[in-house]
Every structure is written in structure tokens, then in C-alpha cells.
């Protein structure tokens, strides 16, 4: 009887551990280090005291194209970085898969799309994508100045690749950044992200 209870407790504990692997809203965001196209290492810890946005990026994904093709993603990046927010775009596609960027290709893609993110980081083995349980592109995370995850999920409330859906869409990241700027708690802290699967 006691042994049964013990096994159950252990099982429950492992289940809890498995659950805790992904980042939870309200918990500290796990630290990571990745290289950009120029080979420069960037760590989340470098930006303590600043608001950080993580954006999972795959230039070939129609959902990502919706936001870049219309210029709305670049505009939001420009606005955010102008306000002192750090915006990290992360490409977790594996070599040979859609959205993969070799180190030499990153800078060209940035200028081609007119990206305004602070850095485009390369995660070809998908380690950071898996650490954050990023499943779609675009999958968005917002981390506050204390390093706590305050938003994770979709970029907006229109889960479609149709650019026409941008008009009138509610952009959750813009809203979360506005909440943080005003010193308020983030109103919508978690949504279900949409898009293509991350091409690990």
C-alpha cells in the first residue's frame, strides 16, 4: 500500500517535471546563448533590466510572410526597439529545411525584409526552440525587465495566412508591450500560437 503511494507520488513528480520543462508565464525565462550571422554570441542575460521580445522566424512560412510582406512586423519591431525594447528574431529551422539560414545568409535576409529586430539569431539544432517549446512561426514571447516571462503565444488574433486579416487584428505583442510601458500587468498573458510548425 505504502509502496503504491510512493510510486504514484514519484510518477506525479516526474509528470510535474515534464510539465515544468517549458517556460511558464510568470516564471523566469530560461537563459540561452545563440550566435548571429556574424558569429557574435548573444545571451538573454545580457539584457537584464530591459524588456525582451523573442520571435520565432521562418522567412518561408506563409504566416510569417503575412506579417513581413505587409510591413507590419517590421513596423512593430521599429516601434519596440525605439522604446528601448530588445527584439530577438530566432530561426530554429534545421539545415536543409524551410527557413534555415546559414551564417552568411542572415544579413542579406535582414536587409531584404527590412527587419528592425535587435538581432537575428541562428538556432540550427533547435535547442533554444525546444527549450522554449516554440512550435509555430511566428511564436512570440515577451520577457519583462526582471527576466520574467509575461506573454507567450500568437502574434495576433487572426490565425490565417491571409494578409487581409491584418486590418482590425488585435496584436497581442503590441498590447503586451503597451501594458509594460504603462507599468500595468499584461492583460492577455497567454494565447495559442498559430502558424507553420517550426522546422526542427
Amino acid at each position: 500500500m505504502k509502496i503504491h503511494a510512493l510510486i504514484l507520488a514519484l510518477l506525479a513528480a516526474t509528470a510535474l517535471c515534464a510539465r515544468a520543462a517549458g517556460p511558464e508565464v510568470g516564471q523566469p525565462a530560461p537563459d540561452f546563448t545563440l550566435k548571429d550571422g556574424a558569429g557574435k554570441s548573444v545571451s538573454l542575460a545580457d539584457f537584464k533590466g530591459k524588456t525582451v521580445v523573442l520571435e520565432w522566424f521562418n522567412y518561408g512560412c506563409p504566416f510569417v510572410k503575412k506579417h513581413y510582406g505587409s510591413g507590419s512586423m517590421q513596423k512593430l519591431q521599429q516601434q519596440a526597439t525605439g522604446d528601448g525594447v530588445v527584439w530577438l528574431s530566432i530561426a530554429s529551422s534545421a539545415p536543409g529545411k524551410q527557413g534555415y539560414l546559414a551564417p552568411g545568409e542572415a544579413a542579406a535576409k535582414q536587409s531584404e525584409l527590412g527587419m528592425h529586430s535587435t538581432a537575428l539569431l541562428l538556432d540550427p539544432d533547435g535547442a533554444v526552440g525546444r527549450l522554449y517549446e516554440a512550435r509555430t512561426t511566428p511564436d512570440m514571447f515577451v520577457i519583462n525587465k526582471d527576466g520574467v516571462l509575461v506573454y507567450k503565444g500568437a502574434i495576433d488574433d487572426q490565425p490565417t495566412p491571409d494578409p487581409a486579416s491584418l486590418a482590425g487584428a488585435k496584436n497581442y505583442v503590441a498590447a503586451a508591450l503597451a501594458n509594460l510601458k504603462a507599468g500595468q500587468p499584461v492583460e492577455t498573458a497567454q494565447t495559442k500560437s498559430y502558424g507553420c510548425s517550426v522546422k526542427y
Binding site: A12, C61, P62, P161, Q190, V198, K199, Y200
Partner: protein, 692 residues
Amino acid sequence: MKFRAALLALAFPLLASAQVFQGVTLVQPTLVADTTAIVPGQPFRVGLRLKMAPTWHTYWQYAGDAGIPTRIDWKLPTGFGIGPIEWPLPEAILEPGDIEVYAYGDEVTLLQTIRPPANLSSAAVELKAQAAWLVCAEICIPGKADLSLTLPVAKSAQPANAEIFSRAARRLPSPDAPPFAVSWTRSGDTLTASFPVPAGTTGVDFFPLPTKEQEVGHPKIEKANGGYMVSIEAKGDLRGVLAIKDADGQHGWSLVAAPTATQSKIQNPKSKIETPTVSLWSALLAGLLGGLILNLMPCVLPVISLKIFGFVRQAGQSRRSIALHGLAFAAGIFAWFLALGLVIVGIKAAGGQATWAFQFQNPWFVVGTATLVFVFALNLFGVFELTLPGRATNALSEAGAADGYGGSFFQGVFATLLATPCTGPFLGGALGFAFLQSAPITLLMFASVALGMALPYLALSLQPGWVRFLPRPGAWMERLKQFMGFPLLATLLWLLFIVGGQRGPHAIIWLGAFLLALGLALWIYGLVAAPHVRPRPRVLGLLAALAIAGGAGWLFLGELFAQEKAPTSAGVTESGGIAWQPFSQAALDKLLAAGRPVFVDFTADWCLSCKVNERTAIDTPAVREKFAQLGIVPMKADWTNANPEITAALQRFGRVGVPFYVLYPAGHPDAPITLPELLTPSLVLKALSKAR
């Protein structure tokens, strides 16, 4: 010309809408219909058929971690309605990075039901739809197509594309509970169910259908204890589809994963209408109340006045005598109900279907009742007097007690006989409960109904103080007695109406002819039965009366009435301006599957309450307009003659009698709304407004 246009329209989508990427056709969309033509007012199914290139897939209604469900936006001509998409079972695809999606490879047909209006003037109709999907393999590409399908309008149609539709329909999850018991338990955020599976099962799947706000994990499927175990992380109850694979393919059942014994109840209309969980005491109380209210039902009112007249007559007698009359009357009520209860217990034991008021479905029973009512009326009119030959003096010497109490007893029987078809509010549910119970509880239930009905008479007879308020006997009593004959004749009209519904208008005439002859015979009997008539003419008169009654019975009932058959489509579409559809479970299931709101009127010609409701509350301009406005399908379950399908439908709601009304709101066949047994127009309108 029309034919060529139709041909062109059929061929056109094949040419224009394919999604081509780098020379490969990724998705080939087409619209298909399961009919060769549109029959006005008759729903049919259409399908968006997507053929995917190898390794590419489009998504299910819940796409999983990535992807988006296929969308179909219809542009239909005015008057056309469209049901929700019915999604065949998907497959679960696990991609690198623990990304699980629910999708279709190869080919899928997404089904929808179109409801054309009842009137169509054009010779052909073009059905247009814009389909939008995401197709993914290693990469994802959105696709979109404007599709159209032109169908001719005709009076009748043949099935079409049967193979495509039956293949898709086989893969639709069933709304029924799985054929094996699945019960869920919750531990923290994890829902788990272990269940046995049928022999030959080669695999199990669970496809979650979370709400927009609900986060779910990936279902884990394991073999356990000779069956399977499914577990999934989710906060709150989770809708989903459980599927098993065997040699025939895949079979699925929609259910709700909820940690209770009744988990599949929300999704499953059949198990939702399970045995009513009324406690014995509240059922007995409801029976009592129902019995009490029976006294106010239209079919009993004439008997009440009759009985009150009886009390007036008795008011001159002793207290004890009045009390005994009341008890005798109550005993008559009890005797009837208990006899009925015993019959039902007997029939149930014999395996037959016994339902409330079922006796009125037998025309010979109605003929018997009509005869009794008519004879009673003639008696009240004074055409003849009932005397007890030979023992008449004896009876008189006992102050009329013996035959008086006997009379009260049979009046009690008679009153109840007339009351049974009109089950009052509460009574339906309470008797539904009784019918599903063991024999002793059934009898107890009937006894409580009997007590309820007898209560006012018992009170009146045991409380002589109340009798004192009744008027003094006098000459007016004779006139009142005669007057009471008229309500009885009105009751007779109602019985004739029932006979007409069962056997057609000729049957009414034959029964009327028999009653006329019977009236003549009773008049002769009345002439010769008087005490002063000498024996010889009396015997002759009695023989003549007997010959007339017997001859008329043989000719009009035995020969002519017996040959009349039930009229075809009796009483289905006759009432007023509502285009009632005859009830059948298959038609109802089809309409509900198509997402249509349906109002079912369970009725019978012999149920006066039903008729009153229909005339005053249902068949009104406002209700007709509401039906049309909300596209509610009116369905009439006519129970005038025995109909096992309707009996079964009533029993699913725990009912055994009519009237009964139920509204299935659009898209919620699992949440039917039942209406009370006494309707008002505003009550009906209020209920109907919940149809959408």
C-alpha cells in the same frame, strides 16, 4: 441550353481551382453533392473534396500545435441554409520538435448539409463557395479556390457520388457513446481513461477539441490491462473524438472527457435522455399533484360537473352516507388506476410496449366508451331510468344505499376512464418514472395518481361542512340533471372525432347509426320498464329493444364499422397553416445532423389537451411566423394510432403520454428543450426564440 450550362459548371472547377506549386498539384479541390438535383425543401449533403499530393496534408477542425483548419465560405442564394462542417476523422502527425498536428493526407471530403427553400422558381441553382486551406509537408502553403456547383431543380432526384459520400460518412465520428465503457479520472491537469476495446482493434487515437481558451497537451495512448489507456493534459472538461482502428478502417465517437460516470452525456442525445433521475418520493408527490390536476383537464370537466351534481343530490342524506359515497367514488378511482397498473405490469412482463392512454388507440375501446357516454346522456335526459328489476324494492328498503354506493363506485371508474388520455402536468414525468420501475413501485405510483384525483371528492364528502354550502335539493335538480346530458354529448363528439381519426369519416357515421338505434332501443326500454306496465307488453318491448340494439350492433359495428380502415396520412398535415412533417426518428436524426432546429409536437386526436394547445397556442400567426423566421422544422408525432417509433421517442424523454412538446435548438441536438403540457402563445414563442 440549361443542360450545357450545368455541364460547363460541373467541369469548370476541375480546370481552374487546383493549387499548383513548382509544377506539382498540391491540392485539387472540388465540390460534390449527394444528389443529381435540388428538390425544393429537401436537405441534401454537399462535400468539399480535397485531393492532396503525396506527403502533403490539410488540417482538421482542431489543427493541433500548428496549421489551421480548412475554411469554407458559402455564397448561397437567398432562402438556402447551410449546416456546420462535418469533419471526418483526421490522423495525428508528429513532427520534429514534439509538434503534433491533426490533419488529412491523400484525400478528404468535408461534409455539409444544405437546406433549400420550399419554393424554387429557377430551373437550376448555382452553389458558390470559397474554400481556403493550408497545405503542409516540410513547408506550408496556403491555398484558396472559388468553387461552384450547379444543380438542376426537380421534383425528385437520384443519389449521386454515393461512393465519395459513404466513404466520408464512414469516417465521421458518431454522436453515440462508444460501444465500450469509457470513464475518465482526473489527476491534477491530466485526464485519464482506461477502457476495454473490441476484439480486432489494432490501434486507438484521441483527437482533442479544446475550446478557444483551453490549453491541451498531446494525448498519450498506451496499451493497458488488455485494453487501452488514453491520457491528456487539459484544464476543465475536454471535448474530443475517440477512435479505434480495425480491419475495416477507423471508427470514431464524439465524447466529452470529464471525470464523472456520466461523461458522454453532454455530447450524446440518446444517453442524455436517460432514465429520469426522479426520487421515489418526488415522483409520488408529482403523481399526486398530477392526479389532482387531472380533475381540471378538459376531458374530465363534464364528469366533475356530474359528480358535483351527485353531491348536491346527496346533500340531503346523512353525513355518514355522504362520506361513504365519497369513499365509494374514491374506491372507483383507485380500482381503475390499480387495474390499469396491473394491466401495465402484466404487459410489461409479457414484453409488450405499454404506454399511457394506449387504450384509446384501440378503436373498439373508443366505441365502448362512446356507447357508455351516450347511454349515460340518455339516462340524464330521462329517456329511461335504471332500475334494478326484482331487487328494486330491496334496494329501496335499504334507503338506496347499496345501489347508491355501487353507482358512486362506478362513477369513480367512469371519471378516471375519461381522464386518462389527458395526462396533466407532472403526471407525464411521474408516470414515465413508474413505467421504468418494478411492479410494486408502478402500482404505488398509480395509487398516488388515484389518490390525487380522488382527493377533492374525499375532502368534500368527509367534510360535511363544505357540503352544507351546496344548494338545497329541489325541482331544479331534475333540470340540472337533464342539462348535464349536454356536456356528455359534447364528450361524445370528441370520441367520434377520435374514431374519425382512427377509421375515417364513414366510421363516424356507422357508429352514429348504431348509437341512434341504441337510443331507440333504450327509449322503448324506458317505456316498458316503468313499474305500471303489465308483464306482457313489457316482455314484448324488452325483446324489441334487445332486437333493435343487437341488430344495429351486428350491422353497423360488426359489419360496416369493422371494415373501415385507418385513413392514410391521418391528421398529419391537416391543422391550419403549419406545414407539419410526419414524425420519424430517421427524418429527425437527419434534420438534427444537418444542424436544423426542430419542434416536435407529440399529439393524438383523442387528446383534447393536445387539440386545445394546438388551436390556441401553436397554430397561431405569431408562432407560424417564428417557425418561418428561424427556419424551425415543425414535426408532428401523431400517436392517435399505436406507433412504436413514437412510443420509443416519448420513452427516451421518460414520457408515456401526450401532450408532449420538444424543441431541438439549431446545432444543439444534444440539448433539447421540453415545453410544459399546458401551453400559452407567449410561452411557445419564448421557447422558440431559443431555437437559434
